[in-house]
């Protein structure tokens, strides 16, 4: 089992790549890997409850850790206690932790 951290920086309402990137997170998880999906910059916009966020909530139910950068949330006026189910606010330090741990960290 490998450990992956996928960093999603794009607004899912503007880019289809975000959808494919989230699908990759699910595929990696279902293949038996440990997966974190970290939302940053405009990527956090889809952490608000919506039809897009419901897909992220499903990933969380499947065991993907879905995190949203607290700084990016504050920049955009999104309260950390108003996120869709399964999505948690987190510090950017998580990425550095995972890099130091030797996880495969991928940016999109």
């Amino acid at each position: 089992m490998a450990k992956y951290t996928l960093i999603a920086s794009r607004d899912a309402f503007e880019s289809k790549e975000s959808e494919r990137f989230c699908a990759l997170a699910g595929d990696l998880k279902r293949a038996g890997n440990e997966v974190t999906l970290f939302l940053v910059q405009n990527g956090v916009l889809c952490a608000r409850p919506s039809h897009v966020a419901s897909e992220l909530s499903k990933l969380a139910q499947e065991g993907v850790a879905v995190l949203a950068d607290s700084f990016s949330l504050r920049e955009r006026g999104i309260a950390s206690d108003r996120l869709a189910a399964g999505i948690e606010s987190a510090q950017l330090d998580v990425i550095v932790d995972h890099m130091a741990e030797g996880r495969r960290v991928i940016w999109n």
Partner: protein, 137 residues
Amino acid sequence: MADQKTLTFSIMDGPYENARTVTALRLIDIAARRGYNINVFAYEGAVSLSFAKQAAHANPVHGHDIDEEDHPLPKEWVSSLIKTAEANGGKVDWINCGLCVDERGVTESVDGTRRGTPADLWNAAASSDGTLVIGTK
């Protein structure tokens, strides 16, 4: 340091263009505060981040002089990251892609940075605990 990690970041965006630069520098800052050894491979527009001739300016449209404008300069952020790592027992090896530097004429860069080639990125990644490539698109 018993648990000194080495991380490599590859960045591509030029200054003032994209939030990716801010996020990259935030990540490097976190690693610097931990005293990690950090390799940064800057290529394409990112080689301008450490360009030494960046200059603050006044803003006559807003009626601000230089001090009031307090214009942020990426070269100062780069220098600050290098000093932060050193103060915490780590170091930053900031490598600017030489081809990208020459193409843009940004041949003077701040102290603590150097020219290199893509082979430096390969070597840095091979000797690091973790590598993150933040590409532009």
